[in-house]
Chain length 204, copies 3
């Protein structure tokens, strides 16, 4: 019961932070409110929607309006209180990382519930956590930032491998999820703190 | 019976105008005939395809070749009679607006027929009417025009709300559809006539 | 039996060549290893995934990890042996063309197996063969190359028409497939050798 509340709170904070990320990128391109809302929604629900379409199930956001409402609140926040957001940037980063970790775990668990093998579940976890940002960059006509900046999606992949190991060693699902959550957040925090990137491909 | 014919005529005019829009944008980027055809198709069927995938049903264009043929006619029109199109631009604008209104209503009605709640149906109506243009802009490597120009997708959302109100007040479906059609066209005409846009998001 | 082995070998060569194409384009944009892998995957499985989503079936790559492994091998090849790839460019071109032909035929046959009419099957064959390259270009923020370069996707369409003719004249499926394969490869080789393009659309 308490656990469900904690998960719901993290999910809403993560959705809010994801939506903020989309809306702020849209603002940097002088988009209007509608464009900002669509970019916010794209980040907040894009990854999970791709996952659900591939799993041949109804996209998760069609079962409750909470994600639409949460993005609307994020839009109002940026539109009216945008100037006060800059000092809070560490908070957004932390919420965004929590969202990344939680969405990755949710993607893995949902895929396993649909009887997918573990390697598919890890890919789906990675898509759930990071594909929304790619859609945002495509809509904004930018090169996807996760393809050449600090480690982001690889944190989801490594977290997925940790989850797999936990399940293989028969740890209970809750402990596995908490461990995975901690690992993804840790990798992301370290990557940004120390500017850790993957090697760049040489042009050939 | 007569009513079905009217709807079919509007649908073909709308599909034709949507395809023309994609093909002309492709021509502005020096695409070849194939590229033009794909951009035309993208505008004509892109939104409805996303809707149908999310509703877990077969994309509507796979059940009849009429949309492919209509786009082929549009391609031939632009390729051979392009120079005579400029004076007709008001006609394209009117057809395009008719298409927007009709596709929005079709998207709402199909979603309701699939037992979706009304707020999902309005989103699906908006996607049906306007997502094709976004796909066109993504394929052409442009910033999506509906995110920073005159009101376009918001006309679908407002039309959807009107349709909802009509149904809530137990108006018959046909009257509701005609009213919604009129509202969407009116908003779009006024928006373009008086350059009405949504507020731009400030960069934060 | 032997025939299955030949098809599997061509499929792996084609997947490898498609993945190489995505990874090399990513390298030209200074993407990191993860970005390269995603672009490689996008070319290798993007078209088939769109086809499977439209046919309302599970994407083919979720049933075996072979495509993920093949793309990983391609990534290692580019990352470590990239400097030796230039002299082999004719080999990549040949493999890529084999992949295009084989994927087109596979797309047609799978669509027919799902009881789609032939005109849908030809479109699906074209999507299976060429949509991956479009997704790559969208992710890389380039204009899709198949919309304004030598004939590429039209080879799939023409190959599909040949396959249709063969089936109409009641040729056995294997002979039809071999003929179609040969035609697609021939058109592609001739198009590149003699720089044959479709006409460009005039800006109107």
């Amino acid at each position: 019961m308490n656990q469900d509340i904690i998960i719901s709170v993290i999910e809403m904070l993560g959705t809010f932070a994801f939506a903020i990320s989309g809306i702020r990128h849209a603002a940097a391109k002088q988009f209007d409110w509608f464009g900002g809302y669509v970019c916010g929604i794209a980040v907040a629900i894009g990854g999970g929607t791709i996952r659900d379409v591939m799993l041949s199930t109804t996209p998760f956001w069609m079962t409750t309006p909470i994600y639409m409402i949460c993005t609307a609140v994020a839009l109002i926040t940026v539109a009216f209180f945008g100037r006060w957001m800059e000092p809070l940037k560490n908070a957004w980063f932390v919420f965004d990382t929590f969202g990344l970790a939680l969405f990755t775990i949710a993607g893995i668990q949902k895929s396993l519930a649909f009887d997918q093998p573990f390697w598919v579940a890890i890919i789906m976890g990675c898509i759930t956590g990071s594909a929304g940002g790619v859609i945002r960059d495509v809509l904004l006509n930018n090169e996807p930032v996760i393809f050449h900046k600090e480690i982001y999606a690889m944190a989801c992949v490594l977290g997925g491998l940790v989850y797999w190991l936990c399940i293989l060693t028969e740890l209970p699902a809750e402990i596995s999820a908490i461990l995975t959550f901690a690992i993804i957040c840790l990798i992301r925090f370290l990557a940004v703190r120390y500017h850790i990137s993957l090697p760049i491909l040489r042009d050939v």
